[in-house]
Subunit: 550 residues, 2 copies
Amino acid sequence: MSLFEKHKLLVDNAIRAIHDRGYYAAYAELPKAYPEDSLAKASGGYNNYLSNKFELPAQGAPLGWAGEEVSPYTQEPLDVRYPIYKTDDVIERAGTAFYSWRKTTPAERTGLLIESLDKIKEHFFEIALATQHTTGQSWIMSFQASGPHAADRALETIALGYYEQTRFPEKVLWEKPTGKFSVKLEKEFRPQPRGIGVVVGCSTFPVWNSLPGLFANLVSGNAAIVKPHPKSILPIAICVAAIQQTFMESGYDPCTVQLAADTTSHQNTKELVLHPDVKLIDYTGSTDFGNYIESLPGKISFTEKAGVNSVIIDSVANLDPVLQNLAFSVSLYSGQMCTAPQNFFIPDKVIEGDQTIAFDEVVGRMKDQLNLLVNNPKMGAGVLGAVQNEITLARIENAEALGGRLLLSSSAVRNEEFANSRTVSPVLMEAEASENHIFESELFGPIAIAIRTRDTDESIKLAKELASEHGAITCAAYTTDENMMRKISEEMNEVFTPVTFNLTGPIWVNQHAAFSDFHVTGGNSAGNASLTNPEFVIKRFVWVGNRRMI
Amino acid sequence: MSLFEKHKLLVDNAIRAIHDRGYYAAYAELPKAYPEDSLAKASGGYNNYLSNKFELPAQGAPLGWAGEEVSPYTQEPLDVRYPIYKTDDVIERAGTAFYSWRKTTPAERTGLLIESLDKIKEHFFEIALATQHTTGQSWIMSFQASGPHAADRALETIALGYYEQTRFPEKVLWEKPTGKFSVKLEKEFRPQPRGIGVVVGCSTFPVWNSLPGLFANLVSGNAAIVKPHPKSILPIAICVAAIQQTFMESGYDPCTVQLAADTTSHQNTKELVLHPDVKLIDYTGSTDFGNYIESLPGKISFTEKAGVNSVIIDSVANLDPVLQNLAFSVSLYSGQMCTAPQNFFIPDKVIEGDQTIAFDEVVGRMKDQLNLLVNNPKMGAGVLGAVQNEITLARIENAEALGGRLLLSSSAVRNEEFANSRTVSPVLMEAEASENHIFESELFGPIAIAIRTRDTDESIKLAKELASEHGAITCAAYTTDENMMRKISEEMNEVFTPVTFNLTGPIWVNQHAAFSDFHVTGGNSAGNASLTNPEFVIKRFVWVGNRRMI
């Protein structure tokens, strides 16, 4: 049985789920669904990586070894050293691998890639520990985001890539009647890969943000190079090694996917993406560098950059569950999610049931909810996780410099498990609608700004302008009025920002589910690509049709 | 019955045909399939346009009137004057139209646009006359290319656009089980149009190359502006007027599509495409300006530029039918097709049946076939049509300056119907494989270069290099060897060039059929878009998903 046949049911289910867009998950998201000794085993495996070389023998002898990861929980170096290669050598190996990989069929690639995902699954717990100690995500988020959720998003791109590449017939008879006789051509349609694809990772979601582009490249027959963020290499390095192992075991060139790690002082991203053989670039990171990537001639880019996410509060049945939900969204992984809300547009008067509540009271109750969450020993430190880097920490600590009225300043939060954890409470600020210099940029980290507006129309106007000019990935809105709901969604959708209405309870605007939610629309300046719309896969290959007379 | 219901069967058939890719045509391609008095009526209508103003009252009062079209058949001005508008006014009207157009559904747009195509169909004969007397195409090609073939390609984009925009559910219940209870969200998925799209036309195929982008923009909910080539406005102006009329009759804003004509001395293309509200650009024309269009930040472009098309002759059963077919391809519309072959790679020895034929003999027989075609009074002038402009004519007349050995120089060809027709015979040159300065650029017009190679491997190498560096839209190859066929297709497909094998008889490499052939692959420098692959439509809208708690 071929690997494709082995995984065919999964492919079919995934393709159906992509088009149904109801709930579907191929990988179980809770650690307890995996073998009982998984964590114990993984801890041993993870510890073996520390203070060691991360060997990737398939990629040959490196120029040297380097690593600079530091755990946000222990604030100590992981001391994992990664092989550093000459960029030309990485490209050359990718070119060789591409030569044979491009000759495989979409089905063959699909089977092998799902087999690779299953191999990655065997490392979910190791990857989770590596994610926790490089990104600062909590244990459970590390497990979910870098494990099952990332694998589901990868499966989504594989299945959609397979679907799109097999959408037109491999061969067809074209017979044109011309009266007395007919002209007959045999036609074949071949999806042709573009070349080499580089996936540039980020320090906060090193796996979740990298796997979709990586697998989309591979399923389309492109060779792939992963360029991780130097502060967060280990989680994706484990994935790359697992894919390479799967390829070797099945007799394919392991260098079809390679790791091209670098260091902060000697970065290789520009060298990689500027190489003429590199045709595809996936990028998650800053707006400036993302704009540079998008501007490169002759390259096809898929970017996720910064955005400014808004909350619009108009009317609610009960305010506290709403504020509780929003406090959680702001605090989750200390706001280091591209989907986290930042700007809370609150009118002078908010309707709660049959009452109206003044702005100041809404903001006061928001402050209460943030304090309740942070000070809840079962919640606070776990929800906040740790701050990935010092720059984000400095931004939070110097929040008063941003110019708003500081309602809640940040303070250290004790993490029972890790005494040195870089964990702090969120900042809450207040600003007037006119003070847009305070809130018009992304303030990465747990910073919420309550912005006083005249009314919800002004809230919408401001949120729309911000999304249009500075990009937005999410918008959370609360209204009990159907007409207002329609207005908010229409206005925000015009600037390609999705709106999530009236969330309370255990579901948050930050979450984008595989097989259902498009993550980033690709329409505003928060990014030019979307996980996973058809564009995300079909731009990676080219339809070419041959014809012959018969 | 809604217009969508009225046309639903056609939409369904077109969607099926797109995915089957066998022969399908919605519009009959022969004039005789249309009412008997069509030409007589159309001639009257066409004559009424001449020496007159082309009124587009829906677009308001123009700044002035201008027109500079000259018939390549009579070499006399058509003296049609088109309204000239201030670019800002055109954009403003498009913006107003966009505001309401974007609120229509894909089905509603699809119905109205097919209704518009049917209105255009009523003008097929007028459009054909206008095409003939602006482009120099023969009457029959003018009819087919600007009439049924263009309408079929338009229908193809409408149907694919409808399919892609309705591919995901408008509404779905997302229910995630979480053990004790489940989280339920109602989700909706809305394809959002990008904004205003400008379609920049060319002088040789003013309708065929413009309708697909125009209708792809419209079906996706974008407003559209047509910027025709100043030497070939009338054919597409008639189409725009027909669409505007259909929109008015059905109560839609006619300025959803506008004509923005300009003159050679006061061009408006840059002004249009640089306007911040213009998000989409379709372009057919020179490589230099196409590269400029592709480089514009924040714009999504669909380009067709110059390419260098190759013929590879390896082995044939009978050489003369092959050369006859190729002579026709070179002569058809005097080589003014982006699909016309230019470079004939012929090895020292060509296999014909069980014999080998020397290069010189092959070229000699090619010359004979060209002469036979040109001198056949029933064929010559009709196949050649007329040369659209003086620059192309000068290139043909000065062919010896290109550097090759001139085997056949160009001379005037008499057209029985039009004594002043700018009709000339094709040029045949000979070059060595090493003389690539002679054949590495597109020599627009009826210029064929026979290039002597060592063997077919060298022919492939050269054709591949040219396609890779300078782009290619077609490649015709002749071989009786299955292995060689595989090799040629693999090598040329790697540089995103389709290969057509062994054509003889009444079908030519120049022809790309709607619902079956992808016209331009979008993978090499001949253009970044393809008629009509899914990418051609889905880049014009953005998927946005809203969610609400229930």
